[in-house]
Symmetry: C2
Subunit: 223 residues, 2 copies
Amino acid sequence: MARGTIAGQIAWSIMGTRMKLYDEHMPAPNPRKVRIFLAEKGIEVPRERVAMMKREHKAPEFLKKNSLGQVPVLELDDGTHISESVAICRYLEALHPTPALFGRDAREMAMVEMWMRRAEFRLWAPMGQVWINDDPRTAIVNPNQFPEYGARNRKVVAHAMKWLDGELADGRPWLAGQSYSMADIVLLCGIDFAKFVNMDMPEEATHLRAWHARVSARPSAAA
Amino acid sequence: MARGTIAGQIAWSIMGTRMKLYDEHMPAPNPRKVRIFLAEKGIEVPRERVAMMKREHKAPEFLKKNSLGQVPVLELDDGTHISESVAICRYLEALHPTPALFGRDAREMAMVEMWMRRAEFRLWAPMGQVWINDDPRTAIVNPNQFPEYGARNRKVVAHAMKWLDGELADGRPWLAGQSYSMADIVLLCGIDFAKFVNMDMPEEATHLRAWHARVSARPSAAA
């Protein structure tokens, strides 16, 4: 994890390029996606914490790395900065293709992309509306909340979870099919963050709950 | 375009697999992304129109293809249905890699993914909030609009356009760098749909406007 660890150095030399990951700890769901991805790949990258509670991600020095002031950011030794967690993961997938987490052939790649996006547009997007409009913890940075709109989006999230439950009713083990993939990582981080914003999976969503238990049982989920 | 055309038949046999694209015409921005992508690749796929104004995308027969009732959908001959425009494009990129529109190496792939997502999260997302909450054309299907929230998101869209302008001020020709890519397609369809929802690029956004003129001058933009 730290640059000084042996595993970190091995990953460093395997990859043949120096890099550093600017990161934040739980509950931020986007940095977590990258940590789970790294754990599934069995690779480590030197990390530097950006303390979001101290607003370090909005400091001028960090804005040079990502003008949007968001973590995570992967810094390459040529000075390139990659932001957006899925873009970071795609970069690492290209350097380190096994196990494939974005699909192994055209059809699998399409299914992973489709399910990743469905998780983002159906669950993450309304969840984000709840988070910024109907959660007291964001009221400080967003004083003009629309709580009523946030509340309506809670229903959209619940509807999305029921829809996902129906889609998983065919008994497949993972969201995009027979292989664990980036789509599972995206959905897991979404479901867990939704719980953090007081939106748990409906009791009757037994297929979704079984999937969540399977994904959460993998050691990577603790990353 | 139609299955019967010679070009359509060539594409069909080059690809070695039968497929059909369920599509809708302008101004729907997501089907347009796929049409531009196909035009840039120089390939054609048999298409069947889904008349959204007639709500054909919500009909039971179509919901079997995409339970979310959205176009576009690509149907493969094994019965697989791929929805989400970017997932469809990734599938076609894997079958038909040249010219590469998702990047040629790890770094380019990451940049395309990053800029595609920045265009989606920064521009498309607030634009969607305007569209569903502050546009009379969606009031029929969404009678409980939050016009004030939509109006605020108009400012978020304007802010995003100014931010994009600043990012393009380095003089690079295309959004993700030196090569035209899927990121340009995503941003173009976003900017043009924003205009359809009465949010044009700010006059002072000269770099963004120059980029928009460059992208719009390509024959694919008419697709």
